[in-house]
C-alpha cells in the first residue's frame, strides 16, 4: 500500500510517494540538488551536507537525502544562502586533505572537482590543512589514497550493503577520522575483501582507484553499482 503525497519543489507541485526522500523526489523530476555522500542504491547518511535545502516552516536547513517527504511539504532547492553554504562545504572539503588535481587519476571524472567547478569555487578562502597521509598500495589490484578521501562512506556502505563483506569502516573522530579496512589491517591483508572492486567504482574522487592508470585515466562505473540494488529489489 503506497500513500501518494503532493509536495512543492521550487514552486512546482509534484506527486510523490510517502517514504521517499526530498532528494529522490527532486532527482526523479530533474531538479538539481548537489550531493556527494548520497548514491542511488545505498542507504542515505546525510554526511556531506551538500544537499541542504530550505523547507518552509522549518527554521534550519535540512539534508534532502535523509528528509522524507510529507503532504504539503514546500522545498526550495537553492537560494543565495544555500549556495553560499554549499560553496563553503566544498571549500572545507578541499582544505581538509591534499586534493592535487594535477596528479590525480580521477581528474576530469571527479565528483568533488566537478562540484567545485559547478559552484564557482575559483579558489579556497580557508587555510589548507596539509595533513601527512598514507597511501595503501597493499592490494594487488586497487589503491587507497587517503589524501583524496572525503569520508563520504560510499565505499563502506557499498561493501556492507551490496557486497555483504563489510571490509570498510571509518575509525577515529572529527579531523582524525580515517577510512580503515578490517580494524586497521592493510587492504591487501583484509581476508574478508572479495576484491570485487565495487567500493572503487562507488568512490566519488580518486581516493580509491584501480592500479595501472595515469592522471585523468580512471573513470568509474557508478551506475552499475546502483543498478545492482534496483535489480535485487525487483526480485
Amino acid at each position: 500500500m503506497t500513500d501518494k503525497v503532493k509536495v512543492r519543489i521550487d514552486g512546482e507541485v509534484i506527486a510523490a510517494t510517502a517514504g521517499q526522500t526530498i532528494l529522490e523526489v527532486a532527482r526523479a523530476h530533474d531538479k538539481y540538488i548537489p550531493a556527494l555522500c548520497y548514491m542511488e542504491g545505498l542507504s542515505a547518511v546525510g554526511a556531506c551536507r551538500l544537499c541542504m535545502v530550505e523547507v518552509s516552516g522549518v527554521a534550519r536547513l535540512l539534508p534532502a537525502c535523509t528528509t522524507p517527504v510529507q503532504e504539503g511539504l514546500a522545498v526550495a532547492t537553492t537560494s543565495p544562502q544555500i549556495q553560499s553554504y554549499r560553496k563553503m562545504v566544498i571549500e572545507l572539503l578541499l582544505v581538509e586533505r591534499n586534493h592535487v588535481c594535477a596528479v590525480c587519476v580521477s581528474s576530469g571524472h571527479c565528483e568533488l572537482q566537478t562540484l567545485a567547478q559547478d559552484h564557482g569555487v575559483t579558489h579556497v578562502r580557508y587555510p589548507y590543512n596539509y595533513p601527512r597521509l598514507s597511501v595503501d598500495t597493499t592490494h594487488p589490484r586497487y589503491v587507497l589514497d587517503h589524501n583524496r578521501c572525503v569520508l563520504c562512506s560510499r565505499c563502506v556502505r557499498t561493501c556492507a550493503e551490496i557486497e555483504g563483506a563489510h571490509v570498510w569502516d571509518i575509525a577515529g573522530r572529527g579531523i582524525h577520522s580515517r577510512l580503515v579496512s578490517e580494524l586497521q589491517r592493510p587492504w591487501g591483508e583484509a581476508t574478508s575483501c572479495t576484491s570485487c572492486g565495487k567500493c572503487v567504482q562507488a568512490c566519488p574522487t580518486g581516493a580509491m582507484a584501480e592500479k595501472g592508470w595515469g592522471v585523468e585515466e580512471m573513470t568509474k562505473q557508478r551506475a552499475g553499482v546502483s543498478r545492482l540494488t534496483s535489480m535485487r529489489e525487483g526480485q
Partner: protein, 181 residues
Amino acid sequence: MDKAKIGTCWLDGCSGCHMSLLDLDEGIVAVLEKADIVFGPLVDAQEWPEGVDVAVIEGAVSSQDDLKLAKIARVRSKVVVALGDCAVTGNVPSMRNGIPTRKLLERVYVEGATERPGTERPGVPTDGVPALLKQAQPLHSAIKVDVHVPGCPPKPSAILFVLSELLEGREPDLGSKLRFG
C-alpha cells in the same frame, strides 16, 4: 591612448602556465594591440616596473624570493591574476608541506645524492639559491589576488578570455571555463 601594461612572473611552478600563455596563438595579437608585456620570463626587463595594469602570476609562493617578487608585483600593479593551480591552490609544490623543510632538503640533496670519490660531499646548497619558506602556499595567502584562473595549466582560451575582459575594464567571470587540474 597609452597601451596597458602586463607583467608576468613565474614563482614555484613548472612554467606550464607561461607555455599556455604562449599557446594563445594568434589571440596574442589582439592582446598586444591593447597592451605591452613589460616584465616576465618572456621579456628582458630586470625589475618589475611601476604602473603595471595587470600582473599575471604563475606558481605557488615557496621561497623568500617568491614572496618578495609577489609583494613587489602587488604594490606596483592594479590587478593581480593568480594563473594556474599552483598559484590558486598550491598544487604540486604544496605536496612538500607536510615535511619539515630541513628534512626535505636533506632527503633530496644528501640522501638522494650519489657520492663520488674525488668530488665534494653532497650537501644542501645555500649559495645563490633563496631560502625555502616553511610551506608552499597559494598566492592569495601572501598577497591580495583579484582574479583566480585555476587549471594545470589553464587553457589558452581561458587566459585569453581573462586578459581580454581585464583589458576592456571588466571583471572576468570564468563561468563554465572554470577548471581545476
